[in-house]
Symmetry: C2
Amino acid sequence: MAKNLNFYPVILAGGRGTRFWPLSRKKRAKQLLALDGKQTMIQQTVSRLLPLAPAKKFWIITNNDLRLAIAKQLTKLPKAQLLAEPVGRNTAPAVGLAAFLLLRENPEAVIGMFPSDHVIADEERYRETLQRGIDIAAAGENIVVLGIRPNRAETGYGYIEAGSAFQGPALRVRRFTEKPDAEKAAEFVAAGNYFWNSGMFLWSARTLADALREHLPKTAPLLEEIAAAFGTRKFSAVFRRLYPKCENISVDYAVLEPRSAKGDAGHIFCLPADFGWNDLGSWTALHEHHTAKASPPEGNLVACSGAFMLNARGNYIYAPGKFVAAVGVNDLVVVETPDALLITTRQHAQDVGKVVKHLDEKKLHKLT
Amino acid sequence: MAKNLNFYPVILAGGRGTRFWPLSRKKRAKQLLALDGKQTMIQQTVSRLLPLAPAKKFWIITNNDLRLAIAKQLTKLPKAQLLAEPVGRNTAPAVGLAAFLLLRENPEAVIGMFPSDHVIADEERYRETLQRGIDIAAAGENIVVLGIRPNRAETGYGYIEAGSAFQGPALRVRRFTEKPDAEKAAEFVAAGNYFWNSGMFLWSARTLADALREHLPKTAPLLEEIAAAFGTRKFSAVFRRLYPKCENISVDYAVLEPRSAKGDAGHIFCLPADFGWNDLGSWTALHEHHTAKASPPEGNLVACSGAFMLNARGNYIYAPGKFVAAVGVNDLVVVETPDALLITTRQHAQDVGKVVKHLDEKKLHKLT
């Protein structure tokens, strides 16, 4: 595949992924786990983008808890481009900083913004879609979002309402919506022109920088000042001093929603993505993902040294090194680590984040 | 309490207690576990009998897998009286051997046969009941069985049908019955004159020896020959050679059932036991036992270093040293050891023995 010389992947890897507790921890977040295959989620994210851009063009935005661990997992990437936010400020300042940094390096830079913890089944198709998006983003002030065709009335994602055709498979975006309720979600799926917001965007550094100057007029100059210090001795101090002053806001809310309100003048386009996307949002999603791939007997997925399942169906059990016996239990999620044991159900696995919230409140830092 | 100088406790400790897997193992059977309090089950068994007999009068019958561990737990008992059966032959040969051994030591010996893995709430009352039973057993050819007043239509125990009053609270025994079905068990409980067979018996060594000679004419001479070798250098060899030739049969089936068929001529008496007996037959029974004592919040019993329970009720979780989080789960039994993890329900905990059967079949000896 021909590489676009102006393409720079920017991977956002500051999330905590608390719903994978007790496996995920502050210093070992979801993106650092090998939830699907041998590579970790962030390693997979980089691997599937390497055919589109050389390692030296990757930027990773993460935090101080994860920086070292990520550096160890991604040894081929330039250390200097692995940035640790002094504090979390959501996606707008993170990708915005990348925009101002890249604008200095290459005025024609096209940024791809990628979450670091999703799985993609068909990587060829994924890169084809990206290539198309890069081309659209490279032409003027266009913003491209990858939209996932919904296969269920999911209430956990934002939706993109698409309008008329633009070029090739790309559609004009009418509107970004917040996470809907179940009824609304069902309507969206039935309508056929709604897509899940994948969190994957393509835009030129210039377009994004301009958008930030317009929509976040206080934050944009701070980011520009930080970017100007990059490569100098004072960078780290400037980063630490100014970044906390940036607004804590998502790029969706800061840029995409106001731009989409302009209609066609917003220049936002949706590329429908049909490459088998899964954000593995919970233990339940992970169970379903693996079950679909492997069809294990009775739907039991067990990571262990050996197992005996008796009248047990649909369980996800993670207890590496142990012999697991499950008798008369269905649809459970049980995850064991050296210091913790989680016992829940596939139905309740969404609530695992509440365990981490409890541990944070109780200051049980060793467990978080 | 006045000690009966002829009383000898014989504790049967050869059981495996597979329903407490993965905590119970061949070399760490249920009686060696501290399932209730700080002392192990067998230590409790000895402790509550010590006011009735000095340590030197205790005999323990166990097996080679457990002998060493038991010796470590019961350091005050005479090592020579801790016998390891070369093979398991059920209770008739075990207690029969004790009868022939004690007959040589003291022709007036009264034997109390005790399981090693039950709990007793009211120990004072227990000893009062035993004292009464010892007196009856010491007078001639009487056999005394401690009968537990049933509080539910349990199908897991044998029942004793009692008849007319004998002396004090003691009743004449009409009949021993096998484990009944649910309907029969309900009838027994409603009838009011049925008791659970506790497995605790009192009889003189002479009465038991005579009964074995009558009912197990091939086995009795073998036991007598083994007993004759006790204290000599050849004991161990004789034991190993002859014991496997003994019949594999319970004392209930070999002696008590045929004797009870004789009616009053059988001289069998039941002492109703109202001292809070529990045989802790499964994880479920253990959960109920502790819940009744401690009334934990939402009926959750959790052995751990810390816990967070969210929408969780009636669970028994054993994971010492770990932080346990249970979310949206009810009535589960989860037991974690360094090499194994059991996940079942209170309803299915009776089936845990099947796990051990599976492990035996697969020759996974490290786990059994």
